[in-house]
């Protein structure tokens, strides 16, 4: 699409890839998103630790954005190190919650689960493991029905 106009000193919204590129060429200063702030992230981290459910994150790409901005433009981000730690802590809490969820799901042998507010990054990290495990469980469970049609040929 169209971008600009680029006037010196005036902030303009651009796609992330362009922002990073311009920054690397030292042609601009990056303005971090509103949520990339110590106070806000502390709130999110605390809520994540308190609640059993997943906190809606300010961006579905919070991990990716944090990594990019802190790697290429940490000089434009106040208290960058604290932000890095806060985001990592939140991620760790969410992953632990995900595993806890998965375990109780498996124990109760549920058929369906609904996990709101997960981001793709989280889903992809545990996803393959979880779907395979559930696959195996399904096969083991269908073995419970006696009869010739229920045995699994491949394992």
């Amino acid at each position: 699409g169209d971008l600009g106009p680029f006037n010196p000193g005036l902030p303009v919204e651009v796609p992330v890839w362009l922002a990073i590129n311009l920054k690397q060429r030292q042609k601009c200063r990056l303005i971090p998103p509103e949520w990339m702030d110590v106070g806000k992230l502390e709130e999110i981290r605390d809520q994540e630790r308190k609640e059993d459910t997943f906190t809606p994150m300010p961006s579905p790409y919070y991990m990716e954005l944090t990594k990019l901005l802190l790697n290429y433009a940490s000089d434009n981000i106040p208290r960058a190190d604290e932000i890095r730690t806060l985001v990592k802590d939140t991620w760790d809490t969410r992953m632990a919650k995900l595993r806890l969820s998965a375990d109780s799901f498996v124990r109760q042998q549920e058929a369906h689960a609904k996990l709101d507010n997960l981001t793709l990054m989280e889903i992809n990290t545990t996803g393959t493991f979880l779907t395979q495990a559930l696959d195996h469980m399904y096969k083991l469970r269908t073995n419970l029905q006696p009869g010739e049609s229920s045995h699994s040929q491949e394992f």
Binding site: R99, A102, R107, G127, Q132, A133, L140, L144, P146, H151
Partner: protein
């Protein structure tokens, strides 16, 4: 060919047993390996995590599922169903009980030594464990920024080496 006395006990491969098995003609009956029998089932229900499934298996789940194909013609059908069901339930419950540890250790980010745990997993569990590890490794790779680095394909690297050999030879 060979002929066997009725009632003799033999060890044969699973595929052969399956082929010979016929509930109507009763050519063979299958004796459950001890890990699937009553005594071991008690151990599993006490704490499935302590069992070394690799030593006992290593295809505990796979073999367990296959064994359900064999009806023991001596038992009344109902009891047989229950036995099969109990076997399956045990396998499933075992899987469920051990799941947490496999998940946690495969996704543990601290590179702690997991070799002790893995040694006691059966093959199905090991495959799962490796999947969990892969998920974690991919994430860490991304985190370090390696995901966006272009590395030479091993194919190309070998090509270069071969070319040199041709020149020398």
């Amino acid at each position: 060919g060979f002929s066997f006395l009725q009632g003799s006990k033999l060890e044969i491969p699973l595929w052969l047993a399956k082929g010979l098995h016929d509930s109507k003609r009763r050519i063979i009956s299958v004796e459950l390996p001890k890990i699937y029998r009553e005594a071991w089932r008690t151990v599993f229900s006490a704490d499935a995590n302590v069992v070394d499934l690799h030593k006992m298996g290593p295809y505990y789940y796979g073999l367990g599922s296959q064994l359900l194909n064999f009806e023991n013609p001596e038992n009344p059908e109902i009891a047989q169903t229950i036995l099969q069901a109990t076997d399956s339930v045990c396998s499933l419950q075992t899987f469920v009980a051990r799941f947490r540890r496999i998940m946690d250790s495969s996704q543990n980010a601290y590179n702690e030594d997991t070799s002790v745990l893995v040694a006691r997993l059966d093959e199905l569990e090991r495959a799962l464990f490796h999947l969990g590890q892969k998920g974690l490794n991919d994430f860490q790779c991304w985190e370090k920024g390696q995901a966006s680095q272009i590395t030479a394909s091993s194919l190309v690297q070998n090509y270069g080496k071969r070319k040199l050999a041709e020149v020398d030879g």
